[in-house]
């Protein structure tokens, strides 16, 4: 499934997922585990203070974003890393293809990179005759299954061991087995051969430090280190918001990211890259490139409220704690980034028109905002995007491109009449009085609202009537349903 085009089909997919007990069980089990591990990992921490500092470190970077991007470029260039800028995913894909072609590269091995998913890089490279192979175990599995990741940290979380064993058996000839160690060891062997032969290694970036010109990558498997060390050329891709000012700034973020993501105190590897192989060195890539991708981020940057979206460090905690995500799974969203972060980010990347269902696919329970390590007020942003979609506030005119896509004449008419009525007290009283008298005629079905709920019933008398009766000493009329 290549997705972004099918975002509109959210509802049918959600129903299909809700009716699939296997998917629901896989996600439920995984999310329960992740939530409790996260909680344990923060035991003994003044979590709110830590999150505050995480948010501030990100905000410090955003406040000086253009200057820091320039500083990053200067430092990286001085260190021997080439920097490229791309406004769109297509442009980023083209830059990467040109680097590959200039080296005569035929094969690219990849570490985990959500930005490369955002660019649909694999399909692009394959179409241009360059093999692109995922090496993160979860991504490897998802690529074999010709699917997309269903979670930003654990791409293959929607599959259980049996399904993975069957898949590996069909695609690589591995024996069927429930033994995870055996399956992992098989993948290790298959991928090591690929690492030895790959022409280019492609990775994402977790933090780019402007002060020192350093690319930081966190990971557990070691495939990120292999990707950035074994092939003769390393290309890193990242969004323009990933920069931080000082090396010191990564300390609160590094304390938050793995604990929020998987409940680990730290990942197995923190890989800090500040340059290609030097003449006296014996390994490492001889060329290192960084591709900085905008893709809608500079639009988000314009708005004081939406700006918070750019603080995200892609930990996935918001999806792990989301009751909607847990029930419908990652693929239902049809977007590169699923779950709460996807709902506030994707509308900027694919347009509010295409992503119109995303901000509404939430119960606004608030769990995402409570766990977010950089304190992104996700529920508030969801409401903002809903408002943008219907142009729902005259005092705060919509700002996003594509705003108003969900505005409906009929709905607007109802709200306008309601507003008008509220400004005319006599008519208001009359109208509510008539309505209560006609309560028998009230329909039982009220569109989407009553699909899973019973309709609220009108009271037999208006509040005004009831209050004046009470003042006259009459007991309140019992409300009949």
């Amino acid at each position: 499934m290549t997705t972004d085009t099918a975002v509109r089909d959210f509802h049918p997919r959600a129903h299909a997922a809700l009716n699939n007990p296997q998917i629901r069980a896989n996600f439920r089990k995984a999310m329960d585990g992740l939530m409790s591990k996260r909680q344990q990992a923060f035991e003994g921490w003044a979590l709110d203070t830590l999150r505050e500092q995480g948010a501030k470190a990100r905000l410090r970077a955003l406040a000086k974003l253009p200057e820091l991007l320039e500083q990053l470029e200067t430092q990286l260039t001085a260190n021997g890393i080439q920097v490229h800028w791309a406004e769109s995913p297509d442009e980023a894909c083209r830059i990467i293809r040109e680097i590959c072609e200039a080296r005569g590269a035929k094969s690219v091995i990849k570490g985990k990179s959500m930005v490369s998913e955002e660019m649909h890089l694999n399909a692009y490279l394959e179409a241009h005759g360059i093999e692109a192979l995922e090496s993160d175990l979860g991504e490897y599995i998802v690529q074999m299954a010709e699917e997309t990741p269903s979670h930003i940290i654990m791409p293959a979380i929607h599959k259980n061991t049996g399904e993975i064993s069957e898949l590996m058996h069909h695609k690589t000839g591995t024996q069927r087995s429930q033994d995870v160690e055996y399956l992992t060891a098989s993948a290790r062997q298959q991928l090591r051969e690929k690492f030895m032969r790959a022409d280019v290694g492609l990775s994402g970036v977790n933090f780019a430090v402007a002060e020192t010109g350093t690319l930081c990558l966190v990971e557990n498997e070691g495939n990120g280190r292999m990707t950035t060390t074994v092939p003769p050329c390393h290309i890193a891709v990242t969004g323009i918001e990933k920069v931080v000012e000082k090396l010191e700034d990564i300390t609160p973020l590094l304390a938050l990211l793995p604990r929020s993501a998987t409940g680990q105190h730290i990942t197995t590897y923190v890989n800090m890259i500040s340059g290609p192989r030097q003449p006296e060195e014996r390994d490492g890539p001889e060329a290192v490139h960084l591709v900085l991708l905008d893709n809608g981020r500079s639009d988000i940057y314009q708005d004081d409220e939406l700006l918070d979206t750019l603080r995200c460090i892609r930990c996935g905690a918001c999806m792990n704690h989301c009751p909607v995500y847990t029930r419908v799974g990652g693929h239902t969203y049809g977007t590169t980034y699923p779950g709460p972060i996807g709902k506030i980010l994707m509308p900027h990347l694919i347009g509010l028109d295409e992503g119109r269902h995303l901000p509404s696919a939430s119960s606004l329970c608030g769990a995402c905002g409570e766990v977010c390590p950089v304190k992104i007020p996700i529920p508030k942003l969801l409401v903002r995007l809903r408002r943008e979609a219907v142009d729902g506030d005259q005092l705060h005119p919509s700002q996003m491109s594509g705003h108003g896509v969900k505005r409906q004449r009929f709905e607007v008419m109802i709200w306008q009449s309601w507003a008008w009525l509220n400004q005319h007290p006599r008519l208001y009283r009359l109208a509510t009085r008539i309505t209560t008298r006609l309560r028998k005629l009230q329909p039982h079905r009220l569109g989407a609202w009553t699909r899973y709920r019973t309709a609220p019933r009108l009271a037999p008398k208006t509040l005004h009537e009831q209050m004046s009766e009470r003042q006259r000493g009459k007991p309140l009329a019992e409300v009949k349903r």
């Binding site: 800028w85 791309a86 993948a187 590094l254 500079s298 940057y301």
Partner: protein
């Protein structure tokens, strides 16, 4: 205009106007009040919780300890640094030993010249460290020409040598004390345990791409031996 100019201009001409940068207060990730022995104990506890194996050894005979650990694991080929004291001491010990040592190898060539051997034949590598972090159970490595990047990644067993008095409380303390911001190496690493994955149904499996096992030898001494310490910086 180039993409670069357009992006930067758009960021500069921000509709909402300039933003204020909040000040940092990193006490929460830096202020710890731990004694050396506490730090050692915490480091050990943390790295063991992620499958690292820790041995505290006396520096006068750490190579004997190493020899027996290697023998237990039937290691055939051990990659050692050529210049660093760790390598020198192992070579000396192996020369004098009556019992068998694995074949000692050095990373003398570029990776291109011996990639198949490193990937298929070397089954353990030993490296020095630039210290460790107690709070997270992490080793600090700055690969060098003598101890290149892949030494701690490709062989199935990685053995790291750590000086007992080089354990920092936090990552913040390590980078400020060692003044990392003044000059980063081409590659700096924190390593916390052997390589692992939980990508198959949340089940932990070790050694997915990197080492399957990580041994940490913590060198201690009642009377500090200057010769090793001079070299570790």
């Amino acid at each position: 205009m180039t993409a670069r100019q357009r992006i930067l201009q758009k960021l500069r001409e921000r509709r909402g106007g300039p933003l204020k940068a909040p000040a940092a207060d990193l006490a929460i990730v830096s202020e710890r009040d731990w004694q050396p022995e506490e730090k050692l104990a915490l480091f050990t506890q943390m790295i063991e919780s992620v499958q690292g194996e820790v041995h505290r050894v006396d520096r006068t005979h750490w190579c004997d300890e190493l020899a027996s650990l290697l023998a237990q694991r039937h290691i055939q080929q051990l990659l050692i640094p050529r210049q660093h004291t760790v390598g020198q001491q192992i070579r000396d010990a192996a020369d004098q030993a009556y019992s068998a040592w694995p074949r000692l190898r050095h990373y003398d060539q570029t990776i291109e010249q011996w990639q198949p051997e490193l990937f298929h034949e070397v089954d353990a590598a030993i490296t020095s460290t630039r210290g460790a972090i107690a709070e997270t159970g992490s080793l600090i490595l700055w690969p060098t020409q003598d101890e290149p990047r892949l030494a701690s990644l490709v062989p199935p067993l990685h053995i790291a040598v750590l000086e007992a008095d080089q354990v920092y409380a936090t990552f913040h303390e390590a980078i400020t004390t060692q003044q990392w911001a003044n000059g980063m190496p081409t590659n700096a690493l924190l390593i916390s345990g052997p390589s692992k994955t939980a990508d198959i149904e949340q089940t932990l499996a070790y050694g997915v791409h990197g080492p399957k096992a990580l041994l940490v030898l913590i060198l201690e001494s009642s009377a500090p031996d200057a010769s090793y310490k001079d070299n570790i910086q």
